[in-house]
């Protein structure tokens, strides 16, 4: 599977793929590294700057991997959002389920 896939169909974007896993994983490691790295960097320790740099690199990779998929999914979902919102308001008014 292509990791930096740029063109996604709506159906493809709706499925859970390795891209979601990688984005989550890179995100967690970036969070860990930035937490540790900022402490080190403010104390002018080399390890601090290295951690921050790697965290930013991971964040950028995460963005490259997940952004095309998120865009495709969002576009497809937004096209149907008005219809879904209408259903939601019916639920609030008990219309969807009355008598069922």
């Amino acid at each position: 599977m292509e990791i930096f896939k740029k063109n996604w169909t709506a159906a493809e974007a709706d499925r859970w793929t390795v891209h979601d896993l990688l984005a989550s994983l890179f995100g967690v490691v970036a969070f860990l590294l930035v937490t540790v790295g900022v402490i080190g960097a403010f104390l002018l320790q080399v390890w601090g700057f290295v951690c921050v740099a790697v965290a930013l690199l991971l964040a950028w990779l995460m963005y490259r991997i997940i952004d095309p998929k998120l865009r495709a999914m969002s576009d497809a979902f937004e096209a149907r959002q008005a219809e879904y919102l209408d259903d939601l308001e019916k639920t609030v008014r008990w219309e969807e389920r009355s008598g069922t």
């Binding site: 930035v34 937490t35 402490i39 403010f42 959002q81 008990w94 389920r97």
Partner: protein
């Protein structure tokens, strides 16, 4: 010039900056009056049309309350840099951004209580919605009382004002733009306040580092004190153990799992509830994901900046024993060392931190009371005009309720810490299961809530008090509670029927949840609602 009992001097220049920044924050909120009154969706979600960076700033601003620096200061002063893992729970946003945030945004639920109605069906779903709506209405009032009381204490410390004045004054100022413009006011003022508070936190912390001798000065002074371990975030007292005063690798692992894997679920952290509102206010699924991720990321950077400032404070004052005294460390760095003019900016930053928290909880509590209790149960046919009006009344009700709680019964607010903690223990796994497993039903989730309330009470207070259970470290308490509550909800899951399949299929086609949903997926394909 005003001098408080602590010797802090407020010059006229400081007051000018403070007042000007407060006015700026209020005006930035109030000018959105016309947008806020358009509809229920505008009053509570800013019309679901915000670009990612606005809710992201709000996520960060809301995560920063007046008591946050005290709490983080306490953890770092006591434990050194490893104390940074206590507030690491903000990292739930790393996985949530691409899992639960996405699923929740696609459900379009205005509140977490409403989501229960979409995910589950029948009486169980309604009971969950009612329970969570009541819980959240009260909890938001409670948090308001808590942070207002903290502001009261700061004003007593700074100016020697009577306590009630600090409690009432700034929270009331905030209520002006929340009442007038609803969530539009909250989000726009949060943007202002988020930027101001981040700049002020960085400024004061850098100043503290400078005063303590600069970065390398701190490193060498820690070495001279024989306390170099305090710089190491991975310095543990062994892999595991049962001494509640120690910090083990198991504490770190538990906090790491809790904060990251927790991102798969919904409602397992108290922060989820305000963030759920921010997720729905984003204009697309993509914007929602980035807002949650970025908000969490900046919150962690802020924590680390604070941590360095507290190491600086430790170097300056290494022998403070009283928790109440060292908890004020970060405030002392600002008020004792900043020059005239900057103290006013610092105080304005503290007010920004306070207002961003207060505004969020005023509007959020009102959202649950209005959308879930009033609109859904009391008057389902209400017009948009009526709903906005009720939203404003509920905001006012929460404000007054929080004053009553904050001023008359401060000892009750000590319960809040326990309530926040218990929310993350027993219902941590059920909150994930409800997202990732189709068979987990409303009765199971409701039973886990009730069981958690009883078990946490027993494990944390009653049994230790009776001498039947030793005082356990946090990581053991967490897993013990998770296990005990599982003894209730797992049998309940299998002894009760699954939720209505048609209802599940509709939810699945719309939200496309992750995990064990194969039977529902197959039905949705058969019905032609989704592709294979």
């Amino acid at each position: 010039m005003q001098e408080a009992a602590t010797g802090i001097v407020f010059t006229p220049l400081d007051w000018v900056w403070t007042i000007m920044l407060i006015l700026l924050m209020i005006v930035c909120g109030v000018i959105f009056y016309r947008l806020g009154k358009r509809s229920e969706s505008d009053f509570f979600l800013a019309g679901r049309g915000l670009p990612w960076w606005l809710p992201a700033t709000s996520v960060y601003a809301t995560h920063t309350a007046t008591d946050t620096p005290m709490w983080i200061t306490g953890a770092i002063y006591q434990c050194g840099a490893r104390g940074i893992w206590y507030p690491f729970f903000a990292a739930w946003t790393a996985i949530s951004a691409f899992v639960s945030t996405r699923i929740f945004r696609r459900s379009l639920a205005m509140s977490q209580a409403e989501w229960q109605n979409l995910r589950y069906s029948g009486l169980g779903a309604e009971l969950l919605r009612g329970w969570l709506a009541g819980w959240q209405t009260f909890m938001n009032m409670f948090v308001l009382a808590w942070v207002s009381a903290a502001m009261g204490k700061i004003c007593v410390y700074l100016f020697g004002w009577p306590n009630w004045l600090g409690v009432v004054l700034f929270t009331s100022v905030c209520a002006v733009y929340v009442l007038v413009a609803g969530y539009w006011g909250v989000i726009m003022a949060d943007f202002q306040q988020g930027v101001i508070s981040f700049l002020v936190i960085t400024l004061v912390s850098c100043w503290g580092v400078y005063v303590a001798g600069g970065p390398l000065g701190i490193v060498s002074k820690l070495a001279d004190l024989g306390e170099s371990w305090r710089m190491n975030p991975f310095h543990f007292d062994g892999f595991w153990g049962l001494d509640s005063g120690s910090f083990y690798a198991m504490d770190f692992i538990t906090l790491l799992i809790m904060s990251t894997v927790g991102g798969l679920g919904m409602g397992n952290f108290i922060d989820w509830y305000p963030e759920a509102q921010r997720i729905q206010s984003a204009k697309s699924v993509r914007d929602a994901s980035y807002s949650i991720w970025a908000g969490g990321f900046v919150s962690l950077i802020r924590n680390s900046i604070w941590a360095v400032a507290i190491l600086a404070f430790f170097v300056l004052y290494p022998n403070i024993q009283s928790e109440a005294e060292y908890e004020m460390g970060w405030f002392r760095l600002g008020f004792e060392y900043l020059p005239a003019g900057l103290i006013g900016i610092f105080f304005a930053g503290i007010i920004a931190i306070h207002l961003s928290t207060v505004s969020t909880h005023l509007n959020l509590g009102s959202l649950y009371a209005t959308r879930d209790l009033y609109h859904h149960y009391i008057n389902p046919e209400a017009t948009q005009e009526q709903l906005v009006k009720v939203g404003r009344w509920n905001t006012l009700f929460l404000l007054i309720g929080s004053f009553v709680l904050g001023l008359t019964m401060q000892s009750i607010t000590s319960w809040l810490i326990f309530a926040l903690w218990l929310q993350a223990a027993g219902i941590w796994i059920p909150s994930i299961l409800q997202v990732v497993w189709w068979r987990f039903n409303s009765w199971a989730y409701l039973s886990s809530w009730i069981a958690n309330l009883v078990m946490s009470w027993l494990v944390v207070w009653v049994l230790p008090e009776l001498g039947l259970l030793p005082d356990l470290p946090n990581w053991v308490n967490f897993w013990l509670l998770a296990g005990l509550v599982a003894l209730v909800y797992i049998p309940v899951t299998f002894m009760t029927k699954p939720d209505d399949r048609d209802h599940l299929v509709r939810y699945y086609a719309m939200a496309r949840p992750l995990g064990f949903w194969r039977p529902v997926h197959e039905d949705a394909v058969k019905k032609g609602l989704i592709g294979s």
